[in-house]
Symmetry: C2
Subunit: 271 residues, 2 copies
């Protein structure tokens, strides 16, 4: 009788390997196969145990890449052959991670699955940029949406504006001009503060602050690349209202180091 | 010259100690003072290092408790005296955690602060109940809001309904009857699937599934207690559509154990 395998759908968080949960780290150690996404950072890949077989199943917008249905088939094949599989996904498996699709496909085959949450980009970037997603008097909640894909921009923009709370757009760089136009058309103030967070939580994180009316121009001017997060709302102005430049010392994965954000023309470089 | 202290605002996650991030665990080890919230689970408190001085600064609805301004004063006092303070908060510091207020108060005093994100309840409960927050064709995003406090129910309910995506209400048990009424009044279908997640991610987690029209009745009938999360949206019906009852085996903090959710009258008990 064949040994029965299993699959853990694991969130890798936003990039900083210290933002893996303890459970995610355990799942990496227990696995004998790791299937990981393109968004899983090199630093996290360096934590993969030597005994593990690994496979990148990265999907990359606009480039040939493995299809979702084939990722599901591969997971089923490996688990059915008795492997303990860690399916490692950037961020959280259930936030724009298509974890639900993999879960359903595996369960339909009777394969045991557990899900380990991850620090999704909104939380990771909020912490690393010191932008609170909720804040009394400014924002009573937050909404996470994707600005990627053909149907993804089929949002109710008036509703998004009416919420009057923090909006976080994932994968919004390419469509920032649309996001800006739709929010302005739906009545959001042109002076609404925004923050563009490039490579959030990683060593080379950049944060660009501005107003909604300049959103797409800022992305072009500063040549912002994916992955980046758009945070739109009053809360994004909180850090800049404080006495920047500031120095911040804290220990990180590579030991004690100093991060010195410099505040110039609305850009904070973390390193 | 006095040694300069610092404060880390750290998210403890939803309760399962294995859902602490590696960085949160590091901050606990580095601290010489830990100030923690009431929502920080006993299991996580058992991880506090023996050398640390600890203090509960829990706020509890309807009971006398330390005021936010006094928590800020205490943090400033400890850091100014040279201590390395870990301010441990349930969930994520920047999601209904009032982390922003503590950050601003500390920065106003020139005290160095870093923020370590945590698995917020929405992510933790989604994973432990296997409810994807986003799912192609069902939900293109999710909104986290609080249903707690006098002004907190001042939401634009029509906008929330118009989003047509997953809504997650934090601290919504006491006001579930209002949430139900407002969403129905704003046009949400009475048959909209909902899930009530009590003590999400903890050993004694309970999940109750039903429809929006039965939301408050379910809470009464099953005597649901805080902390609990209300998840409202089509995605909550996904797990029940699958072939429950199911068995799920996975290792947890206390070693290998078996979790056997039993599906009876719409309630899944995890243990």
């Amino acid at each position: 009788m064949t040994k029965i395998g299993r699959v853990s759908l694991v969130g890798a968080g936003p990039g900083d390997p210290d933002l893996l949960t303890r459970k995610a780290f355990q799942r990496l150690q227990e696995a004998d196969w790791i299937l990981y996404d393109r968004l899983v950072s090199d630093e996290i890949q360096s934590l993969f145990p030597a005994h593990c077989r690994t496979e990148s199943v990265g999907k990359c917008a606009g480039k040939p890449s493995i299809k979702q249905v084939d990722i599901c088939k591969r997971l089923i094949q490996l688990a059915s052959s008795g492997h303990t599989v860690c399916r490692l996904k950037g961020g959280d498996p259930f936030v724009f991670g298509r974890g639900g699709e993999e879960l359903l496909a595996l369960q339909a085959e009777g394969i045991e699955v557990d899900v380990v949450p991850g620090i999704t980009a909104a939380l990771g970037c909020a912490a690393s940029t010191q932008i609170p997603l909720t804040h009394r008097g400014l924002s009573q909640g937050f909404t996470s949406i994707t600005a990627h894909g053909a149907r993804a921009l089929d949002h109710d923009w008036h509703a998004l504006v009416a919420l009057q709370h923090t909006l976080v757009f994932y994968m919004g760089i390419e469509s920032a001009i649309l996001v800006q136009r739709e929010l302005l058309n739906a009545g959001m103030a042109s002076t609404m503060p925004v923050a563009i967070v490039e490579r959030g939580t990683q060593k080379n994180q950049r944060v660009i602050n501005g107003c909604l009316q300049d959103l797409s121009a800022l992305i072009v001017r500063h040549d912002v690349e994916s992955p980046a997060l758009l945070v739109i709302g009053e809360v994004t102005a909180l850090p800049t209202e404080l006495a920047l430049p500031f120095e911040q010392h804290f220990s990180a994965s590579a030991g004690e180091r100093i991060k010195t954000p410099s505040y110039q023309s609305g850009i904070h470089h973390l390193l």
